[in-house]
């Protein structure tokens, strides 16, 4: 028994225990198996797997043969290299802290055991996803995490919006997986195997090959890379499949933190980085990745500035940051992308959990009904600010180092779209701190604007402006929630210090560690330029914070005026560019209409059933008419006999 096998299988065991015993036996202690399992995985990762990976040891072993059919042969097997090690650190660290936090957050919930069972199942699938040594296992984990996401988004399933959101996430992801699946088929047809090692070793051999795909002659590496990327677009909520992630906020907040910020949504970035030997072969594919990432990043950042739901703002922010990671991958700076994945996991999980702490206290998601919370929730406030500074890319914090590396990589890369995406990334650097601090100022500063929905049911939706009723009920969250917050805050500040670039006196250890897997892009740029790019994005980030302060602390009536002045743009942003509506009217409705009005009503009921019931009907009618001949009246038969005899005689006479 290999020790590393415990990493995924401990959470699986916890899942089985919770499903079987959680409801009747464990009940409010259902968190114990899940927490022990994930913390166990964390310790194995830190004490055994990470040191081995740092020593340069790569594990690539098969556990058993999963499926054999002819030459098709895949195993359940594990690959642990530096990239996997980084992902394991991210997943087990965040999962451990979020599991502990959830004990406080989910306390007293009806489905307590169910929540922890799903969380363990998710952790298992996510670990299988990052540890697999072949595309099949990747796909297994990929669909598995999607399933758990479906369960957990729809956790409050008696609520229609939650059930809808879960279903939407699943189906939108299926669109991405459609391409991903075909990409996997293409890999098998091209390389004859689905295992990473032989595929990547032979990848260079397909350079320049073309293949006939549905009538078009296309470049083989481009085709495979773009098909795989479809899956990443779905899973990592990139444009145009980003629509499921904001709705996914219907799930409990720890779920948003773990699945929809720190781990699952980053699987797309992980996959692209893992498949870098294929992506590197195609400039078109690389540029597509970069452009899609940059576009998503900018697009969702602009939406975030107008939203009022605390979790949705952070969700759009997640889309935006994931876009930056793809931007990095697209210009060949995979290490920078993974570095941002790693720092993002800490500050974004922290943002979500801190938001959860707020929601736990005020029982609403609407920031227009909050305000002035900092005196009641000092710890939450402090960690929220730390997370925001890190997310906003303020120098010294984790997020700064990774974001700066991405922006510098884009600027300095050989990529033909490098300068373009650099500009877009720099623009994002303004929006990110702006909407994050808008959120902070509206939530924690100023005066409390909400009632207390549980005490005053009638004052639900912002109807009680300025009301101080119920305000004294607001209090800081329990220790089981604040301690994970503080630990994550440490990560949000310091996790990035492992990747300080040489120009700031660091050793860029992170990029060096990943170099054997993802290589290192060649940059062309002077030190002066590097300072300039860094300085520019820093100034822009700080000005974003400044503008947020000006709007939401000083001139608090100004945002509303601007929204009125530019109501056209404001409405487009507020309604998220009407993408949901677009899909509803161009895809969902027509499909249902065709199903109901064409296929059921016409093709099946009229045409096919018409023939099926028509043929026996016609036969029946014919025999019915024929039956009329048999009247049972002797004189009829006599006449017919006479007519027949006459006919025969006439015939004989004529023919003679």
């Amino acid at each position: 028994m290999k020790l590393y096998l415990l990493i995924p299988f401990l959470p699986l065991t916890a899942f089985v225990i919770n499903i079987l015993l959680g409801k009747e036996v464990l009940r409010d202690k259902a968190h114990w198996p899940s927490i022990l399992a994930v913390v166990g995985s964390f310790f194995i990762t830190i004490t055994s797997v990470l040191p081995q990976a740092m020593a340069g040891k790569v594990i690539n072993e098969d556990l058993y043969t999963w499926m054999v059919s002819g030459t098709f042969n895949v195993t359940v097997g594990f690959l642990i290299d530096p990239l996997t090690a980084v992902m394991l650190v991210v997943v087990t660290t965040c999962a451990s802290l979020i599991h502990i936090y959830a004990v406080g957050y989910m306390h007293g919930d009806k489905g307590y055991y169910r929540f922890f069972a799903y969380m363990s199942l998710f952790t298992f699938c996510m670990l299988m996803l990052v540890m697999g040594n072949n595309f099949m296992q990747l796909y297994f984990g990929w669909e598995g995490v999607g399933l758990c996401s479906y369960f957990l988004i729809g956790y409050y399933f008696n609520k229609k919006s939650a059930a809808d959101a879960g279903k939407k996430a699943f189906i939108v992801n299926r669109f991405g997986d459609f391409g991903f699946g075909i990409g996997v088929f293409m890999i098998f047809l091209t390389f004859g195997t689905l295992h990473y090692a032989p595929v990547f070793a032979n990848a260079a051999g397909i350079t320049g090959q073309t293949v006939n795909f549905l009538g078009w002659n296309v470049d083989l590496p481009t085709l495979i890379a773009l098909l795989l990327f479809c899956g990443a677009v779905g899973k990592s909520a990139q444009v145009p499949l980003h629509v499921w992630l904001p709705d996914a906020m219907e799930g409990p907040t720890p779920v948003s933190a773990l699945i929809h910020a720190a781990t699952m949504v980053t699987a797309g970035v992980f996959m692209v980085a893992r498949c870098n030997p294929i992506f590197n072969l195609s400039e078109i594919a690389m540029n597509t990745v970069a452009i899609v990432g940059a576009t998503t990043s900018l697009f969702t950042a602009t939406i975030a500035i107008t939203q009022n739901d605390i979790k949705r703002i952070i969700a759009y922010s997640t889309c935006s940051h994931l876009g930056l990671m793809f931007l990095a991958c697209g210009v060949g700076a995979y290490a920078a992308g993974i570095f941002h994945l790693y720092t993002h996991a800490f500050f974004k999980a922290l943002l979500f959990l801190a938001a959860g702490s707020v929601i736990h206290a005020v029982h609403t998601n609407d920031i227009q009904e909050m305000g002035g919370l900092k005196k009641y929730m000092p710890i939450t406030y402090a960690v929220f600010v730390i997370a925001a500074l890190s997310a906003g890319g303020v120098p010294g914090f984790s997020g700064f180092f990774s974001k700066d590396e991405i922006i510098w990589s884009a600027y300095a890369s050989h990529s033909s779209v490098g300068k373009l995406v650099w500009l877009m990334g720099t623009a994002v650097a303004f929006f990110t701190p702006f909407y994050t601090f808008r959120l902070i100022f509206l939530t924690f500063h100023g005066k409390y604007r909400g009632g207390h929905p549980e005490e005053h049911g009638h004052s639900a939706h912002g109807s009680s402006h300025g009301s101080h009723q119920g305000e004294h009920h607001i209090h800081e969250s329990p220790k089981v929630m604040t301690i994970p917050l503080i630990l994550l805050a440490v990560g949000a500040v310091a996790a990035g210090w492992v990747g300080i670039p040489p120009i700031l006196g660091g050793g860029a250890h992170f990029a060096e560690f990943l170099k054997p897997v993802v290589g290192h892009p060649e940059f062309h740029g002077t030190h002066a330029e590097e300072w300039g790019v860094m300085g520019l994005s820093t100034i822009i980030a700080l000005s974003g914070i400044g503008l947020a302060a000006f709007f939401y602390l000083r001139k608090t009536d100004l945002p509303e005026k601007i929204a009125k002045q530019f109501s056209g743009i404001y409405n487009i942003l507020y309604h998220k560019y009407y993408i949901d509506e677009l899909y509803h009217y161009t895809i969902v409705k027509p499909t249902l209409w065709v199903a109901d009005k064409v296929i059921v009503a016409i093709t099946d009921a009229r045409i096919i059933e018409g023939i099926v019931n028509g043929v026996p009907g016609a036969i029946g009618k014919f025999s019915g008419n024929l039956r009329k001949v048999q009247t049972g009246l002797a004189q009829h038969y006599g006449i017919l006999m006479a007519a027949g005899a006459f006919f025969i005689i006439a015939l004989v006479l004529l023919l003679r």
């Binding site: 499903i19 409801k23 058993y64 043969t65 999963w66 499926m67 054999v68 059919s69 002819g70 030459t71 098709f72 796909y139 297994f140 669909e143 598995g144 399933l147 479906y150 729809g154 399933f157 008696n158 609520k159 229609k160 059930a163 809808d164 279903k167 699943f170 189906i171 299926r174 669109f175 459609f178 699946g181 075909i182 088929f185 098998f188 047809l189 006939n212 795909f213 549905l214 499909t591 249902l592 065709v594 199903a595 109901d596 296929i599 059921v600 093709t603 099946d604 096919i608 059933e609 099926v612 026996p616």
Partner: protein
């Protein structure tokens, strides 16, 4: 003498498996009508015994050979050269086991829900089981056709006597539809019999080569019988009616076994007997399969009746099966066979599950449910596993089958593979929509206070859950049965094909 492995066991195992249920039926026949409990126990006992005996097939099967095994051969009507000839290979063996298992589940699920004509019901169930197993074991065309048609009679009765309000229409439609197809096959069988010098011996017929035009005609004659049974688009419309009106056990038998016989027919007869015609007809077959996949899935989106939705989903899923079969490569064929098994397990399970709530509410309308996960949580968990298997989630059996089929289909024809993949998206759409409407959201007041599954119902579903996960996690226990037989089948199909391709090439060259 053909290359077969005679039965080495001390008893004729296949005959035992076929005729044990008949014995049970006879026992029930002489039981007093008022002793309903005894009737049920006899039915349960015989079906369990049949399954236990059939397990020997599973353990003693030699996976290394494509040859027919456990063969029994006795002269029956020597004047016409008709033999009582039984045997199984890697293609048929799993369906014998599945049929035996299904019988147990059908008896269990009907325990309380069948209240009228109890004796006749269980006799019908047992006879259907016997005939279905007979179909899978027959190596003589005459015997095969006998079982094939005999099976219709108890099935017709199950639908027509114990079915829903519109049962007579459904039963007659089912009967006529399948009969019309079968009659054409009968003509085909007689043509083969005469051409081959009066032989009904299936294995012997397979070794012969038939002229191309004859193959083509016979292919379509057999196609008529098999396509109706599968059912392929556009001869699928008997299925929703039959499924919907049949009692739960009837739907389960239909879904799990009966509609597999069409696909089995393609594998056992069409491909090896008419290899050139099969290859030539591949484009048509792939097209029909893809249409079935998408059409069946889209039509599910507009259903309001629970059983009808699952029935139409069968059309889509069986489209995957025929796609795999006519991909004519090893992944497609093995995926197709495995998917037949999977579909039997999953759709059978879904119909059993629907039966469980139907017994409580007597409603098949999706709108009459909602929030059931709160009322019947254990049931909701079981249903979820089957839903996921139906959607083809990795870790469940549905994934393995669909993946291999799509891989094979994609290798054979990229467009067919890509279009079939869209069926998976829609599949997730309607199954999750169904699950949401029934189990999630606010509790419908019609279902408040329903009891969760009892032990009998749980026992009925547990074997199927085990199969869903077993095949999903370790499919090789089942795939390994098929390798040798499928390889042999492919060799047979391809051996004739080389010549055909060359002819086509020569014609092309002449034309140019």
């Amino acid at each position: 003498m053909e290359q077969v492995i005679m039965n080495q066991l001390s008893y004729p195992i296949l005959s035992t498996v076929i005729f044990l249920p008949v014995l049970g039926a006879l026992l029930i026949l002489i039981t007093r009508r008022s002793w309903e409990l005894l009737t049920k126990w006899i039915a349960l006992g015989t079906s369990i015994l049949t399954f236990i005996v059939s397990l020997t097939l599973f353990t003693d099967f030699d996976k290394s050979t494509h040859k027919m095994q456990f063969v029994e051969k006795h002269s029956w009507i020597p004047n016409w050269n008709i033999n009582y000839y039984l045997g199984v290979d890697g293609i048929s063996i799993l369906f014998v086991l599945l049929s035996a298992l299904t019988a147990i589940l059908c008896v269990l699920i009907s325990w309380n829900s069948i209240k009228a004509k109890v004796k006749e019901f269980y006799i019908s169930i047992l006879l259907t089981t016997s005939f279905m197993i007979g179909v899978f074991c027959s190596l003589d065309f005459f015997l095969f056709y006998l079982f094939w048609e005999a099976m219709l009679i108890p099935m017709f009765l199950i639908i027509g006597v114990w079915g829903g309000p519109n049962r007579i229409y459904a039963a007659i439609k089912f009967f006529l539809y399948t009969l019309v197809g079968s009659v054409l096959m009968l003509v085909g069988i007689i043509v083969l019999y005469l051409y081959a010098g009066k032989s009904f011996d299936i294995l012997e017929l397979m070794t012969k080569n038939y002229p191309y035009t004859m193959q083509l005609w016979l292919f379509w004659a057999f196609f008529a019988a098999f396509a109706v049974k599968v059912p392929m688009w556009p001869v699928h419309t008997w299925l929703p009616d039959a499924h919907t009106e049949a009692p739960t056990a009837g739907s389960v038998i239909l879904a799990a076994i009966l509609i597999k016989m069409g696909a089995y027919g393609f594998l056992r007869f069409s491909l090896p007997l008419f290899p050139e015609a099969s290859k030539a007809m591949t484009p048509a077959m792939l097209t029909l399969s893809v249409i079935a996949i998408i059409y069946g899935a889209v039509i599910c989106l507009a259903q309001t009746d629970l059983k009808r939705l699952i029935a139409y989903s069968s059309v889509s899923h069986m489209g995957f099966v025929t796609l795999g079969i006519f991909a004519l490569n090893i992944q497609g064929l093995e995926g197709g066979i495995l998917q037949m098994l999977n579909h039997g397990v999953v759709t059978g399970a879904l119909f059993l599950s629907v039966g469980i709530v139907y017994d409580r509410t007597h409603s098949r309308q999706i709108a009459d449910y909602g929030g059931l996960a709160t009322v019947m949580p254990i049931y909701a968990a079981f249903f979820m596993v089957f839903t996921l298997a139906s959607v083809g989630l990795p870790g469940t059996n549905g994934f393995i089958g669909e993946f291999l089929i799509l891989l094979g289909g994609f290798a054979a024809n990229k467009l067919a593979g890509v279009l079939a993949c869209t069926g998976i998206i829609i599949g997730a759409g309607y199954m999750l929509w169904l699950y949401q409407k029934i189990f999630f959201m606010e509790i419908n007041k019609k279902i408040i206070g329903l009891p969760d599954m009892d032990i009998r119902e749980t026992i009925t579903l547990v074997p199927l859950i085990v199969l869903v996960l077993w095949i999903g996690i370790y499919p090789n226990s089942f795939l390994s049965f098929m390798h040798a037989s499928v390889q042999h089948l492919l060799e047979r199909v391809n051996a004739g094909g080389v010549q055909e391709v060359n002819i086509a090439k020569t014609i092309l060259e002449v034309v140019r």
